[in-house]
Subunit: 124 residues, 2 copies
DNA sequence: TTTTAAAAGCGACTATGTCGCATTACTGGG
DNA sequence: CCCAGTAATGCGACATAGTCGCTTTTAAAA
């Protein structure tokens, strides 16, 4: 299962990188120049997640948003930061704030999904 | 727009109360004795949310879960606690831990959605 | 009992996301 | 440089979640 380089992968990653924020599948499809199948975009995104290139956030709208991992691997404290979803411009961005929590004994946390919703700096 | 008491409302609230944890629409429909339309269940749940009886959580699966508000109103620090979704038993419960965060100036937070995913005490 | 408006039922509709299968096209080996 | 193996893509179908408009029912006040 070695990964191959394809125009699709490059296009998707390029769009997300340029945007500088988390994007949903439909936003990506809208921004991309070439025509890529919806299922393919999801597969590309999920592969990037497996490879630690992107991470996935579930927002209040129940949709999946994908954001670049900026040094997520290094600390092995993966993706444990807050996200902010603006209800006006609809963008979802990663906040630098680390999510801190303590849980009762016996619980084993595998994933963290923290999204703050409101109005961002630009829109207020 | 005064609210009325209906068997549907009572049945939904009773199921959630007995469960003692957050529930999705389909889980509620499965537990309820009488036959209630899907759209109606959603409307009932959303009305309860408006009235501050329930609060809504979006989990990793993108689905809406509804949980009893346990003194959520009193502090006016509404629903700012963590939630835990178990990948084994699929239940979603409210944790007592308060969510603490600080955001950059100019941002206005209206809602908080924090879900930890993993394996709960019972299932590990 | 009558009235009226909230609530429920029903059907249709819109995503979002996934899956199976046939086809295409990277990439490494010769 | 070409060929074979297999990852990746396209396409269609499908499942599910959630919403909406409209009609009918019904709780509760007059």
């Amino acid at each position: 299962m070695k990964r191959r380089n394809t125009p699709t992968k490059e296009a998707v990653l390029s769009v997300i990188t340029k945007a500088g924020q988390a994007m949903s599948q439909d936003a990506i499809e809208g921004e991309i120049s070439i025509d890529i199948n919806r299922a393919t975009i999801y597969r590309v995104l999920n592969r990037f997640c497996e490879d630690g290139v992107l991470h996935k956030v579930i927002a209040e709208d129940g949709k999946q948003y994908f954001a670049l991992c900026d040094g997520c691997d290094e600390t092995h404290q993966k993706h444990q930061h807050f996200h902010f979803k603006c209800t006006v411009c609809e963008t979802l961005e990663c906040l630098p704030n680390e999510v801190k929590f303590s849980i009762p004994n016996g619980y084993h946390v595998e994933d963290v999904n923290c999204v703050l919703t409101g109005v961002c700096k630009k829109c207020s």
